[in-house]
Amino acid sequence: MPPTLPPGKQINDPGDVIRGLEEQGYITDSALATAIFLGTRLAKPVLLEGHAGLGKTEVAKVLAGFLGARLIRLQCYEGLDVNSAVYEWNYQKQLLAIKIEERTKQTVEEKEKHIFSREFLLERPLLQAIQAQDFSPVLLVDEVDRADEAFEAFLLELLSDFQISIPELGTIRARHVPHVVLTSNRSRELGDALKRRCLYHWIEYPTLQKELRIVALRLPGISAELAGQVVRFVQSVRRLQLSKPPGIAETLDWAQALMSLSTHDLDPAAVEATLGCLAKSKEDAGKITEAGIVNLISQAG
């Protein structure tokens, strides 16, 4: 059962995805668009891997924007458990209800049925994702590599059946299967079963052309000259084997910083003042200085 699109929305080929995401301010290539297209057609989650700052999380956001669907986000972390990912009973409210009903003539069974009804259920992201009434939402499971293996196994089960069992309520089955996007930074290898359940896409650093287009689209005020210099500079910095090479997010940050300092032409002083946007550690900053800022600027010229 493929996800349901909002009425009037159609995705016929990867080209539609490329255009749709671009309208949302996200430049993508046909490979990623194909993966997303297949995700909607084959009802499979899309697993995005790649370095930090390349817009993995953004994909889900712009996809939701493009589809006009609701975005439900689950941020993973170590120790994430079912209580915070799926559902929890609202204990306080239950206690109050018991108190209020103390003098009514309901039987214990009726009372119990009441306090374990939907009214007292706190829906967490995964439960929300399968509860949609009209059409499929976008479910973003962010940084799934940070959750532990037990949770990964649970997620796998959910992504296969799209149903959740709550002992007191019974099984809730998704009426509309969500579009699922998972992201991973590869801090650990994900389980084979989960990976094989998903369509896989590896996000590369953008090419010069693509990055130029992104900068132009996201920072409309930037001069073509500065944009070119910034992007070429960042592209050479990526070749320096830093421990955290700058992603697109860093390029945009940096360009913005330079613009607010009213830099029109990249010069060593301006680069040094804003180096913190590109290098996220002392060692990385050292490597850039070592390679010679003047040198890098002349390459970017």
Partner: protein, 376 residues
């Protein structure tokens, strides 16, 4: 690529089989998905067909990188219509074997990778496994090594999983702290509305592991690295160092997502593999440069070494006693302790003994696994 619709499916399935033979992990289910994917995107645009098949058939970066070549070699050379594909031999694994340092350490070039590739396929009888668990690493025959490595990976993984599970169950916070709850709710007439939980804060021990990689430790070093890798997967606060005549920190290298990658990253660093040993000096280097950060009352300090030291024994004793004063436990794991006739009488070892809390053998898998209980 103009194909009649009915042959498209069989052609795609053929390609999937070709990928599988070339080392991709895609199974039957992926073949089915690949056919649906190809139907969904059509075959008019070659790039899009490639992207579609890649999204379905690959499941990690390595396969992703390999795919281009597979796609090219299958589709481009094909004359229109059918072709009998003779699957090529397995492609070269895209990550070259660790060369240089690690290879000399292993003393054999391909055993490690072969063992990993075959992991899960071969099933060994229980008795043979039992035997291998007790085999001294230095005495394992060349034939047994791949098998031994396979078991080592599995058992060490189980161990690290056990360690983390135990920790998890202790960290659950779902116990209601009745005393504080009632105290808190007195103003509400004693009705329990605002629940307080008893949060157990279990602080994990900090681990420091020092691996001796001098010549005399050669037969053991590889397994110790695996051990360190397994530990590192589940201890957050762990730092691993190698030493022979000097000290090198390898914590970051071991953080790779897979052991093969960790090994490769290690191989790229120049270190004194198989050289002499100066334990005292290495410890001193540790104290000077890392002591302030690593040594504290909750540290378990682990040295994996046979105690053959070419430096003065006093230096070793002095450093170890200094470390002993600052940490919770000093563990010394000595592979020679597995030998029945071994006595720790080498000068270095006997100088170190007074400052060691746990002195244990580490010559086979079983002894490594037995250390689990000291790590909690």
């Amino acid at each position: 690529m103009s194909l009649p619709e009915e042959s498209l499916a069989s052609r795609i399935v053929e390609f999937c089989r070709f990928c599988r033979d070339s080392g991709l992990s895609a199974g039957i289910k992926e073949s089915v998905d690949a056919v649906s994917a190809a139907r969904a995107v059509g075959i008019s645009d070659r790039e899009i067909l490639k992207s579609a098949l890649r999204a379905v058939l690959c499941s990690n970066k390595d396969e992703w990188d390999q795919f281009d070549e597979l796609f090219m070699s299958f589709w481009s050379s094909a004359p229109p219509g059918f072709r009998t594909t003779t699957p090529r031999k397995k492609l070269q694994p895209d990550q070259p074997l660790p060369q240089g340092a690690i290879t000399t350490l292993m003393g054999r070039s391909s055993a490690g990778r072969a063992a990993e590739a075959d992991a899960g396929k071969a099933v060994l009888g229980a008795t043979a496994q039992e035997r291998l668990r007790r085999t001294d690493f230095s005495e394992a025959s060349q034939n047994d090594l791949p098998e031994l490595e396979r078991i080592a990976i599995r058992l060490l993984r189980q161990m690290s999983l056990r360690l983390s599970r135990r920790r998890k169950s202790m960290m659950q916070r779902d116990q209601v702290d009745l005393r504080r709850t009632i105290r808190r709710n007195v103003s509400r007439g004693g009705d329990l509305i605002d629940l307080r939980y008893r949060a157990k804060k279990i602080q994990q021990n900090r681990l420091v592991v020092l691996l001796d990689i001098s010549g005399s430790m050669n037969p053991y070093s590889l397994f110790f690295l695996r051990f360190a890798y397994a530990l590192q997967r589940h201890f957050k606060r762990i730092h691993t160092f190698l030493f022979s005549t000097q000290l090198t920190e390898i914590t970051t290298s071991l953080r790779g997502p897979s052991l093969a990658q960790a090994m490769q990253s290690l191989a790229q660093q120049a270190m004194g593999w198989s050289g002499g040993t100066k334990i005292g000096e290495s410890l001193k280097e540790f104290v000077v440069y890392h002591g302030a950060r690593e040594l504290s009352r909750d540290t378990v300090f682990i040295v994996l070494s046979d105690g053959w030291d070419t430096g003065p024994p006093e230096a070793l004793a002095e450093q170890l006693s200094a470390i002993r004063r600052r940490v919770r436990t000093v563990m010394w794991l000595n592979p020679l302790l597995g030998l029945p006739q071994y006595q720790p009488v080498t000068q270095g070892m006997s100088a170190a003994l007074p400052y060691i809390d746990v002195f244990a053998p580490a010559h086979n898998l079983e002894s490594l696994l037995a250390l689990e209980r000291h790590l909690e």
